[in-house]
Assembly symmetry: C2
Homo-oligomer: 220 residues x 2
């Protein structure tokens, strides 16, 4: 069993890497910035995307691919903003992969898009292992999850270019040190760009929008 398993996992990763590189080439040609957004369930990815679409409306055309095991709730929320959106239901799979992204291509108008946000399945483990063709990965960590997460789930912090520490409005009511999250995250990934935000109060979002707009500009 074990050698077969190891060999197969490698094969899957290699196949995914090949498709993801093709996706990346496609997006590069269209000069679309693609971000792969990851977090634990309920950390606030969809709310952040909704705010981002509204804040950049008129400046940046945003498309969204929603990944969920089941349901279309998140895609419905995004559709209500007027942005292009496709929902992927993985039917059990714990992460998105390059092939799932590729299968959405026929349903999106990439000529009318500057930024594609891929909202991955809520999972702090598996999505970090798979590229989908993105320029970079972004992760959210919400303060009720606690400040031990960088040291317990290091891969996602290592693979991400930006960390959004969300739900800072809850800091008075939970035991969580932002300083510890910052210090431990930067130990794992010294280049990580960190934002402190609240999806509820919209605190800290302006810095995120400015950073993102610069990245979109750089891709043009």
């Amino acid at each position: 069993m074990v050698p077969i398993k190891v060999s197969l996992v490698k094969n899957i990763l290699h196949a995914n890497e090949r498709i993801s590189v093709q996706n990346k080439e496609f997006f590069d040609e269209k000069r679309i910035l693609v971000i792969n957004m990851m977090s634990a369930p309920g950390a606030g990815k969809t709310t952040l995307i909704e705010h981002t679409i509204k804040a950049l409306d008129g400046e940046v055309n945003i498309g969204v691919i929603e990944g969920d095991i089941q349901s279309t709730y998140d895609a419905e929320k995004i559709a209500a903003t007027g942005a292009q959106v496709v929902q992927i239901n993985t039917g059990g799979a714990c992460h998105l992969d390059g092939n799932m992204i590729r299968e959405t291509f026929s349903q999106l108008d990439f000529d009318a898009m500057d930024l594609l946000i891929v909202e991955n399945v809520g999972n702090l483990v598996c999505p970090a292992e798979f590229n989908v063709g993105e320029d970079f990965k972004v992760m959210l960590l919400s303060v009720p999850e606690g400040d031990d997460k960088p040291m317990k789930y290091p891969l996602m912090f290592h693979e991400s270019s930006a960390l959004l520490i969300n739900k800072i409005d809850l800091l008075p009511y939970v035991t969580c040190s932002i300083d510890k999250i910052r210090a431990d995250s930067l130990k794992i990934n010294p280049n990580l760009k960190i934002f402190e935000i609240s999806g509820k109060t919209e605190a800290g979002l302006d810095a995120w929008y400015a950073w993102l707009k610069q990245k979109i500009e750089d891709k043009k």
Copy 2:
């Protein structure tokens, strides 16, 4: 690739099922109740286990197997209560399986144990697919994660015998309907036993302790 993948996944699940049945037979012979505790990262599993050990001290001998990708923080917290504990570091794997549990057998004194709590890796997806030899699965959902989780991650709600809705002390500060969690969870699993608790204030924990003690009694 696809047929190989399907066949292999089945093989892994079958192999795991075989080992887990052996584990279950071992625990049954010792009349130890075994629960497999699952949740998203940071939902409060370790704090619940700490409270449970302290509350049942003198009545029930509890052993704990801690599952984390990396780190020993959780095992250290449990060790401070005086309970037997073993830490499994999965080194990347997103769930515990029967074989990992089996490998801890030499490090635990099962003759001095009435209840074994297996704290799974924080992940609302993958752990629900694998038995480890437990009598039943228990899951936590913390209210900051939101009330859409049963419909988005149905398998874990389907596989669990009990759901602990945790962090109810945060209800005034987040958008989350306990009624919706209850209704949607029971649609997926009509037999689910639901507790509303707070690891912080210890609200609702007495009902959990009473239910758990009855289950331990039933196993004797």
